[in-house]
Amino acid sequence: MFDQIKENIMYLLISQKYKWLSFLTYRLQAFVWIVASSFNVIYPLVTITVIYSISSGIAGWSYYQLIFLAATASAAMGMAWYFADASNIIDGLLYGSADKIFTRPYGLLTLLMVEYGDVIAAPTIIGAIALMAFAALHLQLSAQLLLYYLVLLSLGTIAYAMFLLMLTALAYKYFRRGTFIWRMVNFIGEASNYPISAYGFVVAGLFSTVIPIGFAYYYPSVLLFGGFNATLFYGSAVFCIAISVACYKAFYLLMRSYTSAKG
């Protein structure tokens, strides 16, 4: 089993090299993509800066804390996009490009990450990390809390990515179209620029259960700025693992209905 995992990881890593080489072949196009992808970070930066320049902002959140929160969301969403672009996956399933990859001797998840992950998400991730570093310079962050934050951020991102994968398989099975997914991702992207506590009980509940984006950006940030809270940390971690496993299982189950697009 370990050999299999090792083989899958090696395949994933080698494929990254070739993906990057292929991306950088068309340099001007790559540059345009880098600029385009950077806007995922520029948007929240401009919005939050303008908000804090004309008002006292969102109660309980300083300017730099909110920048850090929005950057965390961009990083989490960028990671999910980098490893499995839901729109690419659904196009592959619908138009037949998935047929040829499913015959390769690797796990389904690895194959989807290799084939449908998008390197153009990298500038978003890098930009988000730079923005986090910029905000962190103005915030006194404890190293221990940062570690807890990173653990929750990773678990939350995995849960969010698994949720998107499950949703992709669901959209493939019932809608046969991917527009539903990108509309939802856009909506989540817009929402994740601000703390979920601003959206009221219903939306905050939705983002903490059905759509697990709250665990990928909000709860890690609350933990980082609000101090360690064992219930929050362990509860969120357990929930993220549970939702990741459930979505992974549901994804496999839904993918059983996959039929080749070519007949």
Partner: protein, 292 residues
């Protein structure tokens, strides 16, 4: 006598034909245009789920921003921020959601697909001019969304701000939307042309939409930007895409400012259209299609 009468009759008939023929040609052309528009309309009608989802997500996004701005106003304890009260901010974001349907332009995507799949060759030899086809297709795609989503959201927005719209304001709003659409169409056409040289133009269109979102007022009302930034933005046609039409409808800008903004947009559109037309005439020569 008869010959003279017959002669004058024939001459008269010829005269009438001379008048009618261009009209018939124009009418035939209109029929062709209508057929292109109808085909596009029928195609959009197929995606009922898309229409419903689009309505849900647009309203939801506007609601999210309303939540956020309610918190911001409450935290600041102010009745208005840079001249905008909370009900106007609510209305603004609803109108942004509606406007994004009024100005939606997928011209570049159609062009990219046509160029990559080689269908541009057949599109170029159709009786309807390629640019006209793009305009009609674009309008056909937008029509259903405007009727079923755009107008209802627009009405919600206006009700939220308790604004009554006078016929003059409505006319000005329509004129601004037309200008905004022309500008956006030209911009997206330019990006679409890049598909001749690039393999994908998603990146370019993404940058364009992001810049329009920021400078056009889709992300935030332009009143919220620092005045130095506003002064620069108002020298561009960007505000005509979102901010100016919305502010006209809400009555937050004067007729004079709206007229100035229209003039600025026109001043951009004219040379921009000439440039795009020149580039298109050159670029068409570089178009090669698979199989021909």
């Amino acid at each position: 006598m008869c010959s003279q009468n017959c002669l004058s009759h024939t001459t008269g008939e010829k005269q009438i034909r001379k008048w009618i023929e261009p009209m018939r040609t124009q009418f035939r052309k209109l029929e062709e245009y209508y057929a292109v528009f109808l085909a596009s309309l029928k195609s959009s009608m197929h995606y009922k789920t898309d229409i419903a989802l689009s309505l849900i997500f647009r309203i939801s996004t506007a609601l999210l921003l309303i939540f956020v701005w309610t918190v911001i106003f409450a935290s600041s304890g102010a009745n208005s921020l840079n001249g905008l009260t909370l009900p106007f901010v609510y209305a603004y974001f609803f109108l942004v959601a509606a406007m994004s349907l009024f100005i939606s332009s997928e011209v570049h995507i159609t062009m990219q697909d046509d160029i990559r799949e080689g269908t541009i060759a057949s599109s170029l030899v159709r009786p309807v001019n390629y640019i006209t086809q793009l305009v009609l297709n674009s309008f056909g795609d937008m029509f259903i969304f405007i009727i079923f989503i755009g107008i209802p959201i627009l009405i919600i927005g206006l009700l939220l701000a308790h604004v009554s719209v006078s016929p003059t304001t409505a006319l000005l709003f329509v004129g601004e939307i037309i200008l905004g659409n022309i500008f956006l169409f030209i911009l997206m056409f330019l990006i679409g042309m890049a598909a001749i040289y690039f393999t994908h133009i998603w990146g370019l269109s993404w940058v364009a939409y992001a810049v329009i979102g920021l400078l056009g007022g889709a992300v935030l009302p332009l009143n919220f930007y620092p005045s130095a930034v506003q002064n620069i933005i108002f020298l561009t046609p960007m505000p005509m895409v979102f901010y100016t039409p919305i502010s006209t409808l809400l009555g937050t800008i004067s007729m004079q400012s709206a007229a100035n903004s229209m003039i600025v947009t026109l001043l951009w559109i004219i040379p921009f259209a000439a440039l795009v037309s020149y580039l298109w005439n050159r670029a068409r020569k570089n178009i090669t299609s698979a199989g021909g």
